[in-house]
Amino acid sequence: MSIEIKLFASLARYASHPLISADGRMGLPSPVPVGQIADALNIPRQEIKLIFLNGIHAQMDTKVKDGDRLGLFPAIGGG
């Protein structure tokens, strides 16, 4: 299975991980929680403040399935 992953703002610096393809896709053996994907990409969980799965707010333990779109945000507070 494969998912589309988008890392926003300062999390974009983790997007060069070899598990993520040039077109922003990531292969997975089976459905896994968001937290496990973050761990695999070496993104510290405390840097992730907001998770969206298929455009809808999700949690660290929400399972990601084949074809899902995952978006991860850090804290953004500039004004």
Binding site: K6, F8, A9, S10, L11, R13, P44, Q46, E47, K49, L50, F52, G55, I56, H57, G71, F73, P74, A75, I76, G77, G78, G79
Partner: protein, 288 residues
């Protein structure tokens, strides 16, 4: 002495607008003169003109995107802006151009040279001046029909709820999670819609928070809730910086959201977060 309406009636001039329609118009100079004669603020004279179907020249090119009826609503509206920095500066200037009747501006800071890269109210000759006072001065130059109430204080400082008795919309142009959570709580208690905006690098986001929405608490957690180590994680804007572009873009989206609320053009409740990235020219909508 003739009454205000009679003076407006004898002053307006016919003029073809940009769509070829002949309309009644009045100039700033004439608005000021009538206000002075009747000892009434320019904003009041402006509202009287609009209600008589006379368009101040400064609003002529707003039509038909913003109609005469819309312009009356805006002139009789009040918007409170928390923060007069990167986002707030642009928001305040745009609201003044649009002719919002009354602006309440809250900021405890003065301008410093590091603000010059992005803050629309900041100039090399006003360093060290208080931001709300500068907002009032610049709005007066842009549009004398806008009354600005400058509050040199943070929104989280002790404030009177009665100050917001006539406030229709609040704008979040702050730069800390704690202040944003405070503002969200305040706006909910007052039952006033809040327009959130935040930037980092060339990205930013905007969201309308209606009093029943959970909005801000989903986006931010207080330091107390995150534990003592939370301050070790740098915020995105500190890792990426805040160049001029994203504040201008997000401020424009925030002001559009203000218009949507005031003119009842948008949804009445949404929980929808809009993320914009200038570097990739992309817009994404998320549901909270």
């Amino acid at each position: 002495m003739r009454d205000l309406a009679a003076d407006i009636e004898s002053t307006w001039q016919s003029r073809k607008n940009h769509t070829g329609v002949t309309v009644k118009t009045i100039s700033d100079r004439e608005l000021n003169a009538i206000g002075k004669k009747h000892r009434r603020p320019v904003r009041e004279v402006c509202v009287a003109c609009l209600k008589m179907g006379v368009t101040p020249l400064r609003y002529l090119r707003n039509s038909p995107a913003i109609t005469l009826m819309d312009q009356i609503i805006l002139a009789e509206s009040e918007v409170a802006i928390a923060g007069a920095g990167g986002l707030g500066g642009h928001v305040i200037l745009l609201l003044a151009r649009l002719g919002i009747g009354r602006l309440l501006v809250f900021d405890s800071d003065t301008f410093d040279e590091t603000n010059l890269n992005r803050q629309a109210l900041c100039f090399s000759n006003n360093i060290d001046t208080f931001k709300p006072e500068e907002a009032a001065r610049q709005c007066a130059l842009i549009n004398p029909a806008v009354e600005v109430s400058a509050h040199i204080m943070a929104i989280a400082d002790p404030c009177q709820k009665s100050w917001f008795r006539n406030t229709d919309v609040m704008v979040d142009a702050l730069d800390s999670a704690e202040d944003r959570l405070f503002l969200a709580k305040l706006s909910r208690e007052l039952g006033i819609p809040l327009i959130h905006g935040a930037v980092a690098g060339f990205e930013g986001r905007v969201m309308t928070v209606f009093p029943g929405d959970k909005g801000m608490e989903t986006l931010y957690r207080s330091k107390a809730a995150d534990g003592p180590d939370s301050s070790l994680e740098p915020a995105a804007e500190n890792l990426l910086g805040t160049p001029a572009l994203a504040p201008a873009l997000i401020a424009a989206f925030q002001v559009m959201a203000v218009l949507n609320v005031l003119l009842k053009r948008g949804p009445i409740s949404n929980n929808s977060l809009l993320h914009l990235d200038l570097a990739t020219a992309s817009i994404n909508a998320f549901t909270l």
